[in-house]
């Protein structure tokens, strides 16, 4: 029996939780980390309680799914009923859940104000809106900019299936790619397919995935390993977490495919211990896949054996670097080692090893099923396919998105992201996390691909995208990122260990009003030492936030260094609050709100701030109703 036939048996017997073919009402509740942080567990309990009280247990099914990407609106509750357009309630509290059960489910009257689209859609999606493998959101949500402009390949199932159910994954085409590979393709076929898809590593460096597989395939070795790098560590990045929490099987399937292609029988998923939910779901998925014969020996009767072990990272950012990661798996201190030899030649325990990140792997099954040409048709000439971004910072729709390569920052931030909140202006976008760079408004129309971002002084990185409005101080932001990388430097190589520390000291001097003109030379020389001579990618990219902000926001640095002034009033030591005597009515509000009691004054007489005690928290400025506190 072929692997595909074995799989069909599994699919035939599958009983998915989330499904179209039911006359029941399905309630999809996001229970990823973002939703749980928003209180989804309490809402879920209230919801189930209300359903029971309303006696709807037989008509309504509650399905727990991953994150659909609108993290700031969690907890989300999506209602799918045969013959009706789906409805997505947002920021659902336990109280709201009860009301929704009463009015919508029982009473048949949706509550438009609580819906994500305010009840805009009233029709069921018609012909032309069939869900395909990768665009399950298009059918129901293409009237919302947030979803319509996305193209979900890696995230195709996230939020659409129950991540703890293998049957759910099977029902949406899961493990078909693996079965196809096992039946119809040789390892070199698989490698050729991935190569011609143009897929590049989504962990940050953008190395062609097919080439990596080919190198490992060709490397001599009695044993080879396949590793999934799930040590996502950029501040503000959560692409991999969402994928693992929402669709763990896709990673397992892709690892088995990669293992088959490169000649590995053992895989490791290195996932951070700070992702307990992802770990739990991976464990469930691994167990289910082994039970079903989709992992382990003789997968689907094909003769190919492959199994996966989980390894938890203890929280070092640098362990996302592949050689440090492998050292960590081996039980050593997580420090990068020089390359070459590359992991493909000598990796884990000195054996040829292929290492890919979560998003890269999640893109593999669709590439196998839909074909390399299909994937290569998405994106730009040099950057094919799609990219997942974690949209964070001063943007309306913070959350998780996946877009075709080549879209512009403007489309992401203003169309999908909904623009800058509170009527503020856009100032900069940081791509690539602490290793990336800050891009100002003139780059808003730069297409997002590996080369363009590099040219602009930023990097693609793993997908963190932090938007900053015009109240941010770019010197302060650069200092923030540098603090992170300095803290996370493994301490092995000189430029990163010592150089980033000195850069940080310079930045601290600048933001406290003690900068001097030679600091530009210091930062440039230290930055260059890191970029050109550091041992690993972490060190080589660590100065990027500083160097890119100097390049794009030189005037702000000048203000700090030459005039001891922070234009955005963010650098505390450069800000001074004082009360304008003429405007102060002596209401005493500032005095009562001052946390350090440094404001004095008689009622109805002008107050005074004691500058020696003031900690420049800005409370007085915020609370004054008469604009009598001046910030300079």
């Amino acid at each position: 029996m072929t692997a595909q036939a074995s799989l069909e048996r599994l699919v035939a017997g599958a009983q998915p939780v989330v499904r179209d073919s039911t006359d029941k009402t399905q309630l999809l509740v996001g229970i990823a980390t973002c939703a749980l942080a928003g209180g989804a567990d309490k809402m879920l309990a209230a919801l189930e309680d209300a359903i029971e009280k309303a006696g709807l247990q037989d008509k309504v099914e509650v399905c727990k799914v991953g994150c659909v990407g609108r993290c700031s609106l969690e907890p989300l509750l999506e209602i799918r009923q045969p013959g009706k357009p789906p409805r997505m309630y947002v920021k659902v509290t336990p109280e709201m859940a009860e009301v929704i059960v009463r009015r919508d489910l029982t009473g048949g009257e949706p509550i438009p104000d609580w819906l994500i689209d305010k009840g805009e859609r009233t029709e069921v999606a018609g012909p032309g809106h069939e869900a395909d493998l990768v665009n399950k959101f298009t059918r129901d949500w293409d009237h919302l900019d947030f979803f319509r402009r996305q193209f979900r390949v890696a995230l195709r199932n996230v939020g659409r299936i129950d991540p703890e159910s293998l049957d759910d994954y099977l029902s949406v085409g899961g493990y078909r790619a693996l079965a196809k590979v096992l039946d119809e393709m040789s390892p070199t076929d698989v490698i050729a397919c991935v190569k011609s898809s143009g897929l590049r590593g989504r962990g940050g460096a953008g190395f062609p995935t097919g080439l990596k597989w080919e190198f490992t395939y060709k490397a001599q070795g009695d044993e080879k390993f396949m590793i999934c790098n799930a040590d996502e560590g950029d501040p503000g990045a959560f692409m991999d977490r969402s994928t693992l929490e929402g669709d763990p099987h896709t990673v397992l399937e892709a690892m088995a495919i990669a293992g088959y292609a490169v000649g590995a029988t053992q895989g490791y998923i290195y996932v951070r211990a700070e992702y307990p939910l992802a770990v739990k779901r991976l464990e469930i998925a691994l167990e289910a896949a082994r039970q079903a014969g989709l992992l382990g020996s003789n997968i689907l009767g094909s003769g190919f054996s492959f199994d996966i072990e989980l390894r938890l990272g203890a929280g070092a950012f640098v362990c996302g670097e592949e050689t440090a990661l492998m050292a960590s798996i081996e039980g050593k201190r997580g420090m990068p080692r020089p390359r070459p030899p590359f992991p493909a030649q000598r990796g884990l325990w000195g054996k040829p090893t292929c290492i890919n990140n979560v998003e890269t792997l999640a893109s593999i099954p669709p590439i196998i099923l839909q074909g390399a040409e299909w994937y290569a048709s998405i994106g730009t000439e040099t950057s094919k396919g799609t990219k997942v971004f974690a949209l964070a910072g001063n943007v309306e729709n913070t959350g998780l998105i996946e877009v075709p390569m080549g879209v512009t920052l403007r489309e992401i931030i203003f169309d999908i992201g909904g623009g800058i909140p509170d009527g503020k202006g856009f100032k900069a976008a940081q791509t690539g996390g602490p290793s990336g760079g800050c891009l100002p408004a003139q780059y808003l129309d730069t297409p997002i691909d590996y080369e363009s971002l590099r040219e602009a002084g930023a990097i693609m990185g793993s997908g963190g995208l932090i938007v900053m409005d015009d109240t941010n101080c770019m010197v302060d932001i650069a200092k923030f990122f540098l603090t992170f990388t300095q803290d996370e430097s493994c301490g092995k190589c000189t430029p990163c260990r010592e150089g980033t520390k000195r850069m940080l000291e310079v930045m601290e001097r600048i933001t406290s009003g003690h900068g001097e003109e030679r600091d530009y030379e210091r930062l440039a020389r230290l930055g260059k030492a890191c970029q050109r001579a550091a041992l690993c990618g972490l060190g080589q990219t660590a100065p990027n936030p500083v160097l890119s902000t100097i390049r794009h926001f030189r005037d702000e640095y000048d203000a700090h260094i030459l005039e001891q002034r922070c234009p955005a009033h963010k650098c505390k030591e450069l800000v001074r609050y004082q009360i304008i005597t003429e405007a102060c009515v002596g209401c005493g509000l500032c005095r009562r709100n001052c946390p350090v009691h440094c404001i004095s004054g008689e009622p109805r007489k002008p107050h005074l701030i004691d500058q020696d005690i003031c900690i420049r928290c800005g409370q007085c400025y915020e609370v004054c109703r008469f604009n009598a506190v001046e910030r300079a």
Binding site: A316, V318, R333, M335, R337, P338, P340, Q486, D487, E488, S489, C490, G491, K492, C493, T494, P495, C496, R497, E498, G499, T500, K501, R502, E505, R518, E521, R522, R525, L526, K528, A529, Q531, R532, A533, A534, L535, Q540
Partner: protein, 590 residues
């Protein structure tokens, strides 16, 4: 394996495939500056001092690991690289105490030399400096993290050459520090005290515990009688500390220098090396006759003894119970000699000048005390002794050689070669043969070439008049493990010699620093030191321990027979398992 040809700074170099750029450059007279690199250790790639430009490469590469490729064009000193290298070394200086003038390594510091070579003239980056407490709690090794520049050589030598693994990097980023697990004092850890970390450290982050001050005090004390001994391999290396080429032995000059600094009686550890052979040889022959326990494993190396106590406690019964030459010498000084001279042993300051840092630890082992007094009061390393001579203004290399005092200064060629790996075995074989067959080996059969040399593990089966004697000689603890693994797996040996340091005592942790033009642990250097000892042996009239007249007299006048009651009391010891800090007793194989 095919060759590759590359161009380095316009010079063509042809080297075997797999050669690194740095090695290739070395072959054509281009010495790329380096720091963390060490030819006998794994590649760390940490310091980044050796970065070079490779045409077509995206970034600079570290030449210490990057393989040379055919047609490669390398530039090692572009303006960019020179500036970068200067900045990198400046960064190291910024986090270093820079107390050069008062530092033990002043004038012999790799960082100092590098700072000079890179031409740092202006300091632009200075800021905070890391600070960690100095660990000077132990008797042998001092760890001063403030001076550490994190090249990782100590970590690698400890883990790779010695397989002790006492040291590791702890904390991250700027706070990174090399220390034992749990920040335990070195003395409470698995540290064997071998001092190889001191040997390979480019700065003064590891040092031996200074004993010169105590010696100087004793010398100035009119009540104290200072009696010295010096290890065989001190004479093979001390010249290097005074700028002489390696390989030249200084013996009479050291005796003379000892007297110049005020030592009252100048003896030599080689005397008791002969004594050790008498006891251990007899012990070995007895074990052979009685059928065990075999193999007899040597115990004169304190590093090996501590290693065995820590990592192989179940093999301790195989160790020879004979004390080390140093401790035997001390014991004889404070008993036999003191009685003979009518001196109260408590007035004797017993000084040992050793190639070894661990001897400082050995001297503190309570079971080696004699009548409540330490057999050896203070141990100076070769380095400390050389410094002391400078301090006293002694022009060492121009001293007229003198003779050692007697009776504890007389020695044979067998005692001399103790300092080289395999030497103890060779010396023991010369005497064991005599003990077994009551006749000497022919003069032309005294050299046992099978056990000489620097191969990590040397095994041989000797035909002793029809009896096969299976030997293993190892130096460096990783090599010891190789043989011990075989032994544990059922391998049959009659005799195993273990020396903790690479090359044996000539490569001891207390020997002079390698200097500007050499590399610590360099095999060539070790071989030269060893050959100095073998040459001394060859030139001796008496080359077997049992023919040492002073030894014979010692047994007649005082000890009786080897392994006899008195000998047992004064010349033998015992061992015990050690459980280092952080290891739960039930986990230790006690």
């Amino acid at each position: 394996m095919s060759d590759v040809t590359l161009t380095i700074d316009g010079v063509s170099a042809t080297v075997p495939r797999g050669t690194t750029i740095m090695q290739a450059a070395d072959t054509v007279g281009i010495r790329i500056p380096r720091l963390c690199y060490h030819p006998r250790l794994s590649i760390e790639g940490a310091c980044r001092v050796c970065v070079v430009e490779v045409e077509g490469a995206r970034n600079l590469v570290a030449s210490c690991h990057y393989p040379a490729e055919d047609g490669m064009v390398v530039r090692t000193h572009t303006p960019e690289i020179l500036q970068l290298r200067r900045d990198i070394v400046e960064l190291l200086l910024d986090n270093h105490p820079e107390d050069c003038n008062t530092c033990e390594r002043d004038g012999n510091c790799e960082l100092q030399r590098l700072a000079y070579a890179t031409g740092i003239r202006e300091r632009l980056f200075a800021g905070e400096r890391k600070h960690y407490e100095k660990d000077n709690l132990g008797p042998a090794i001092i760890r001063d993290p403030d001076k550490c520049i994190l090249c990782g050589r100590c970590v690698r030598v400890c883990g790779e050459i010695q397989e002790v693994g006492c040291l590791g990097q702890v904390n991250r980023g700027f706070k990174t520090v090399v220390m034992p697990a749990h920040d335990a004092p070195m003395v409470e850890t698995v540290c064997t005290g071998c001092g190889q970390c001191v040997n390979v450290c480019p700065t003064a982050a590891f040092l031996e515990k200074d004993a010169t001050a105590d010696l100087m005090k004793a010398i100035e004390d009119p009540e104290m009688i200072v009696v010295s001994q010096m290890a065989p391999s001190v004479r093979a290396a001390i010249g290097e500390a005074f700028g002489e080429a390696p390989g030249k032995a200084y013996e009479g000059e050291i005796y003379a220098a000892m007297r110049r600094i005020g030592v009252d009686y100048v003896f030599d550890t080689q005397f008791s090396a002969d004594l050790t052979i008498m006891e251990e040889g007899a012990e070995f022959v007895k074990k052979l006759a009685e059928g065990g326990p075999l193999p007899n494993i040597t115990s004169c190396c304190p590093t090996w003894v501590k290693y065995c106590e820590t990592f192989h406690p179940n093999l301790l019964h195989l160790l020879s119970t004979a004390k080390s030459p140093m401790s035997m010498q001390g014991a004889m000084v404070k008993t036999y000699w003191a009685e003979k001279m009518g001196i109260d042993p408590s007035r004797i300051f017993s000084l040992a000048v050793m190639c070894c840092t661990c001897k400082k630890f050995e001297a503190t082992r309570p079971e080696l005390f004699v009548n409540g007094l330490p057999a050896v009061d203070r141990v100076l390393t070769t380095r400390e002794f050389a410094w002391l001579l400078r301090n006293y203004g002694i022009d060492f290399t121009h001293l007229q050689p003198e003779e050692a005092d007697n009776p504890l200064g007389e020695s044979t060629g067998a005692g001399v070669i103790f300092g080289a790996t395999g030497g103890v075995t060779e010396a023991a074989l010369r005497t064991a043969y005599y003990l077994l067959f009551q006749k000497d080996l022919p003069a032309d059969a005294l050299n046992f070439e099978q056990v000489r040399g620097l191969k990590g593990v040397r095994e041989a089966t000797l035909d002793f008049e029809g009896t096969a004697v299976r030997l293993a000689v190892v130096h460096g603890l990783s090599n010891a493990n190789e043989v011990l693994d075989r032994l544990i797996a059922g391998g049959e040996y009659h005799w195993i010699e273990v020396m903790g340091c690479p090359g044996g005592c000539v490569g001891g942790g207390g020997q002079p620093y390698a200097g500007a033009n050499a590399v610590p642990l360099d095999e060539c250097l070790l071989a030269q030191r060893a050959s100095a000892l073998y040459n001394l042996d060859a030139a001796r009239e008496i080359r077997c321990s049992h023919h040492n007249p002073s030894i014979q007299r010692l047994y007649q006048e005082y000890l009786g027979d080897p392994l006899g009651h008195k000998a047992h009391e004064l010349l033998h010891t015992y061992y015990y398992p050690r459980v280092p800090m952080g290891v739960r007793p039930q986990e230790a194989q006690v």
